[in-house]
Assembly symmetry: C2
């Protein structure tokens, strides 16, 4: 058995290996998308074996589901003028965050149907929450634009790496917050 450090117990060893595989999967799925990432590649990156990856995670599909599962955003609630602040806080987290799992989900969304469905579901749920708390007839529309702005900032920063968006989260927030406020208040 591979012995990479002092840990001896079998359960611990296994947990450690699974974690290494999962981390490698997150990274590779995030860098190259679903299709271009191979089980063999993940195994190698994790210092493991393709067969083992299969045995532990069942299939590439299931591994991907675990690697790219989206941590749900916190709830949005409160008076209309508080909403913008909460949105900004959520955005700040997304901008600062080391783009591992979320990035994998995002990138895969564009080539992998199930991932796309999951991302859409997550975003729609979040967005509907926002729309419910917003005033005005066009609350849904405005919450859609809010979602688009956040989506654009996250994708622009982490995936497309647009010029200028590599600024500090604070600088970005300074620009984005007024926009969010404006959209939230209608």
């Amino acid at each position: 058995m591979r012995r990479l450090n002092g840990v001896t117990t079998r359960a611990a060893q296994r947990r450690q290996t699974e974690e290494r595989i999962l981390a490698a999967a997150r990274r590779l799925f995030g860098e190259h998308g679903y299709e271009r990432t191979t089980i063999r590649g993940i195994a190698e990156a994790a210092g493991s074996d393709a067969g083992l990856v299969m045995r532990y995670f069942g299939s590439k599909e299931k591994l991907f589901a675990q690697a790219a599962s989206i941590p749900p955003d916190g709830p949005i609630e409160g008076a209309p003028d508080e909403i913008a602040g909460q949105l900004a806080a959520g955005l700040a987290a997304k901008l600062a965050e080391e783009p591992a799992a979320a990035l994998a989900a995002m990138r895969a969304m564009f080539s992998h149907p199930e991932a796309a469905a999951e991302v859409r579901a997550a975003m729609t749920a979040q967005q509907r929450q926002v729309a419910d708390q917003l005033p005005g007839e066009d609350a849904v529309l405005r919450s859609g634009v809010i979602g688009a702005l956040i989506l654009g900032l996250v994708i622009g920063r982490h995936l497309v790496k647009l010029e200028g968006l590599d600024a500090t989260p604070e600088a970005l927030l300074e620009l984005a917050t007024p926009l969010l406020t404006q959209l939230a208040e209608g």
Copy 2:
């Protein structure tokens, strides 16, 4: 030879077949991304043959390049307060546009390295143009956020199909234009 209509001349027939293939390629690349789209699938959708696709376009790579080539945006220039209007006009075009080639490019950007480079180059060029015409120290940053907003709206509408973003281009513009103005003027 397949004879689908009255056209008889060989050159016309060929042009027609190439066009059918290209149209099918655009549609499929746009729907499923680069990897999940197969030469065989394109050929079948075009009522043609995989070998023929290869002979006409050389390789999947080259076919993709032709199918997903990005039409460059018009130039951006003028006084700072005109910029927002021009940006809005460009955005309007992107929102209304039947998302065939552009969608293929967008979607592929996330799974296909070369496409990603091309898209990024196009966006960066456009963005730099904008930044040059904008006042203020943080022109690059603001133009980045402008790009993110547009990117988010286009992706949110055509790719993710966010709720609310299926509104008429006019309604979306009514919300987006003030944001663009605000970003342009600093």
